[in-house]
Symmetry: C2
């Protein structure tokens, strides 16, 4: 079984990663940790380096738990939601984990557009974690 965590370094993404690790132990699955940047100079050099560091840390966390892991930083001019789903198709992923960040600055409940896109369009089940 292949699991994918859509990672962006946020607290809820970290919770999604930890949930994936605990499920991967039961399923004896491997965990792809995937971050998506747009590229084409939309992100600064610092943002790219930060993402690279966050990805390495996430991979290390998974491996430390004895779960096979594979990290990918995608930079291919795509919105993160589409990018994640494309990767999932390419790698025959069985289960996607996403973090749900859901409060606006004024405290209103909100749904990130990338999370919505993934949930509505994934061809495999999607686990949402707060």
């Amino acid at each position: 079984m292949k699991m994918l965590v859509a990672y962006d370094g946020s607290g809820s993404a970290l919770n999604a990663l930890k949930t994936a690790v605990s499920y991967a132990k039961v399923f004896k699955a491997m965990v792809f940790v995937v971050m998506s940047l747009y590229g084409e100079h939309r992100e600064s050099k610092e943002e790219v380096e930060k993402a690279e560091t966050q990805l390495k840390e996430a991979e290390a966390l998974v491996k430390k738990e004895g779960v096979p892991s594979d990290g990918h930083l995608l930079v291919r001019s795509m919105a993160p939601g589409e990018d994640i789903l494309r990767f999932a198709e390419e790698h025959h992923i069985d289960l996607i984990f996403i973090g749900i960040k859901h409060r606006s600055k004024v405290g209103k409940l909100l749904f990130g557009s990338n999370a919505q896109h993934v949930i509505l369009n994934a061809s495999c089940p999607v686990v949402s974690v707060r």
Copy 2:
């Protein structure tokens, strides 16, 4: 481990149920199948009877697979999304499964308000299945 399937007799809810059963086998979990009606005469007698039949069929499907199952038809004047989450809290559910029906009559991608409510507000992970 306790799993909950938010069931409404739809095709995507049936897919959610089947996914829950396959996961429950791996986790050695039990599966609560939960339907929510509003009550207060909002549903016709036929609709209530149909729900009762669908619930029994769903429970039978789970038991046939050798997974412990418990069916509940909730009728307590609550919107389904809130009702499901209340039940999940009351029964200390670890993982919720929901079906995502996502096309409007004109083919537009849509997100059911109950599914959104459950995903955004659940205190445990939520598995969305198409």
